[in-house]
Symmetry: C2
Subunit: 365 residues, 2 copies
C-alpha cells in the first residue's frame, strides 16, 4: 500500500479559504458582488490589458524562467539589481519558498494570531512549529510581544504583514526599522508588503537588501492582477540564489509576466486606483459611522467594521452572502468581531451599503 510521507500524512485536512465560486455553487447564486478577497475591482491597467491581449497568441511559449525583462524593470523601480529579485506565482508562492528554504522541519516560526493565514498553511505543510502572538487591543501587530518571543525563541522566521491584513493597520517605517534591528541575528524577517502600494512611498521602509530580511510585493492588489498570480521578493542576492535551488523555474504564466511588465509603465493608472481606493475607504468609514459601528483606519484596499461580537459578525457575513454580497471576516480575537470589506467600485459600494443596512435593520443590536 502506498502511504503519504509521514510528515504529510500528519497534516490535518484543511481548505485555507473557501473560494467565491464554491460559495456561489453552494448557495445557488449566479452573481456575486465580490468584496471578500481584497481583489481590485478596477482590474489591470489598460496598458497591461493591451500588452496581454497582444501576446495571447504566443501563449504556446513558456514564460521566461528567469523573468529577465520584468526583473530589470523591478530593479529600476526599487533601485536595486535584478539579482536581488525573486519572481514567484504571487506572495503565497514566495512565502512557501521562504518557509521551505529557511525553516527546517521542527524549526520555529513566529507570527500574529489572525493575520494572513497562508503563512500558517505553509508552516504546517513544512512541519514548522508556529508561535502566534495576539494583536494589541486595537488590532495592530504587537511588535513588543513579537520581539519578546523572538528574543526567547530565536525563531528561524518571523512573519509581519505591513500594512496588516486583516486589520488594515500600518506600522510606521521607523518602528519597523527599530523592530528589525532589534531582532535576533539568526531570525529572518519575512515582511509581507502586499498592500504597500496603498501607502505613501515616503513612509515605506527603504530597501534593506540583507540576508535576514525578505520583503514581498505583489501585482494582485493595486495593480489589479490577482488572477495572474505574480509577485516578488526583494532580498539579498544570497537568498535569491537559495530560492533558485528549489523554486518552480517554469511556474509563472507568460502573460502574467507580460502584464506585470506593462503595469510598471502605467503609474497614472496605479495612482488612479490608489485614489479611488481611498474614496472607497472613506465611503466605508462614513457608512460605519451612519450605522453606529466603529471602523479601523486602513492603509489598504479594505476596511474592518465592528459588529460588536464575533457571532454577530459571522451572522452578518452569512446574511450578506444570502443577498449576493461576498465579504469575509477576521478569524481571531480581538478582530473577530469585525467584518472586512474590500474596496469596490461606486456601484459595488452602494450594493454593499444597501445590503448591510438591510441586514443590520433586521438584526438585534
Amino acid at each position: 500500500m502506498v502511504r503519504p510521507a509521514p510528515a504529510i500524512d500528519a497534516i490535518p485536512a484543511t481548505t485555507p479559504f473557501v473560494g467565491p465560486e464554491q460559495l456561489m455553487r453552494e448557495c445557488g447564486l449566479r452573481e456575486l458582488v465580490r468584496l471578500g478577497a481584497n481583489e481590485s475591482p478596477f482590474g489591470p491597467s489598460p496598458k497591461a490589458l493591451t500588452a496581454m491581449r497582444d501576446e495571447l497568441p504566443r501563449l504556446g511559449w513558456y514564460g521566461d524562467p528567469e523573468s529577465l525583462d520584468l526583473r530589470d524593470a523591478l530593479a529600476r523601480k526599487h533601485a536595486c539589481e535584478p539579482a536581488h529579485i525573486l519572481v514567484g506565482s504571487g506572495i503565497d508562492d514566495v512565502m512557501g519558498l521562504a518557509v521551505r528554504a529557511f525553516v527546517q522541519p521542527g524549526g520555529s516560526i513566529v507570527t500574529t494570531r489572525g493575520t494572513y493565514p497562508t503563512l500558517n498553511y505553509h508552516a504546517i505543510g513544512f512541519g514548522a512549529r508556529l508561535t502566534a502572538v495576539d494583536y494589541t487591543p486595537d488590532g495592530t501587530p504587537d511588535l513588543e510581544a513579537l520581539l519578546g518571543i523572538a528574543r526567547r525563541e530565536h525563531p528561524s522566521l518571523l512573519y509581519l504583514a505591513n500594512p496588516d491584513n486583516p486589520s488594515g493597520r500600518f506600522i510606521a517605517r521607523d518602528d519597523v526599522t527599530a523592530f528589525y534591528r532589534a531582532l535576533p541575528h539568526d531570525t529572518l524577517l519575512l515582511l509581507d508588503e502586499a498592500y504597500a502600494d496603498f501607502v505613501d512611498p515616503g513612509e515605506l521602509l527603504t530597501p534593506h537588501l540583507e540576508e535576514r530580511l525578505i520583503r514581498m510585493r505583489t501585482f494582485s492588489k493595486a495593480y489589479g492582477m490577482a488572477g495572474a498570480r505574480i509577485g516578488y521578493a526583494l532580498t539579498a542576492e544570497r537568498n535569491v540564489q537559495v530560492f533558485q535551488k528549489i523554486r518552480l523555474h517554469y511556474g509563472i504564466n507568460r502573460n502574467a509576466q507580460v502584464g506585470a511588465l506593462a503595469s510598471l509603465g502605467d503609474d497614472e493608472f496605479r495612482d488612479r486606483v490608489v485614489a479611488e481606493t481611498a474614496r472607497a475607504r472613506a465611503a466605508y468609514y462614513a457608512l460605519a459611522a451612519e450605522l453606529g459601528c466603529a471602523s479601523i483606519e486602513s492603509f489598504t484596499n479594505f476596511v474592518c467594521i465592528d459588529m460588536h461580537t464575533a457571532e454577530r459578525a459571522t451572522r452578518v457575513v452569512g446574511e450578506l452572502l444570502r443577498r449576493g454580497v461576498w465579504i469575509r471576516k477576521p478569524g481571531a480575537p480581538p478582530l473577530d468581531r469585525f467584518i472586512r470589506v474590500s474596496a469596490g467600485t461606486e456601484p459595488m459600494r452602494r450594493a454593499f451599503a444597501e445590503a448591510l443596512r438591510g441586514v443590520l435593520a433586521e438584526m438585534p443590536a
Copy 2:
C-alpha cells in the same frame, strides 16, 4: 546569521534549463526559431484565445482555487469524477507535489537516466535518493530493468514518461499495464503523459484511478498553452485529498483555467494540431534520411536525429543557435548523440532544415 535549512543548503546550485530568453541575451540575438522546448508553434485554440481575451478584464479576480468548472469538464473527458482530478501549474508543479507528498526525505525514487529531468530536480529538492536506470540501446525506457530495481528497492515512487521525452518512444498499453501490475504494492507509479494527446486515444492506458498510480496531463503541448502553466493529475480521490493539504490553492492563473476549459471544447483544433505535428515529424524523418542520419520514430511533437557522437550533437546545437535556430539535445547516453527538434510550422521546419544542412556541410562527419 540566518542560514538556510540544512537540507536546502546541501542542494548544489543548478539551473534546470537555460531558457531561450537568456540564450538570446547571451548571443545578442533578437529573434529565435524556437524548436527547443517542445512548445506548440500553433498556439492555443481560437476558442481558447477568444475566451481568454474576453476574460482578461476580470484578471483582477483570483482564479477559482478548486477549478470547479475545469475539473467538471475534465471529469467528463476522462469519464471520472472531479474528485479524481488535481489541477496544478503544469506537470512540473504536480510532480513536485507528488515527490513532496509521497517520498519522505531519504526515501527512494527510481527513474530513467536522461528522461525528463524536472523529476530529478524535485527529488533533489525534497531530499530523495534517486536511482536511474539506463534506456535500452534504442532509447526506450527499460521496463525490465526498472522493474528489477523496483522489486529490490521498493522505491516510494517510480517515474515513467510515456510517450517518453526526450526519445519520443511510446510503450504499448498492455506493456505499461503489465509493468504497473508487477510493481511492488508500496511503489507509486508517477506516469507522465504530457505527450499523450499525440497518441491514438485507443492506445492509451484506460484510467486506473488507483492509489498507487498518478497519471499527469498538460495543456502545454497539443493544446498549445505552455505559457499558461496548467496541467493536471488523474488519480485516486485519496491522493487528491493528500495534495489538497499542501498544494498552492491560489497558484493557478485565472485565465489559464479559462483557456484550458475553452480548449476542451475545441477538438477540431486539437485534431488539426495533432495532424500537423505528424506532418512535422515526417518532414524531420525525411530530412534526417536526406542527410544520412538516423532518427527515432516519435509519438510526440519532437524528433531525435542521430549526430553519431555526443560531441558532434553538442556542436550542432551550438552552431544552429548561432544561426538563430534553438533546439536542445538529450544529456545522457545512449541518446546524447542525438539532437532533439520540436515540431514547427512549415516555415520553421524549413528554417531548421536549411540551418542543419548548412551546419553539417561545414562539419566533418
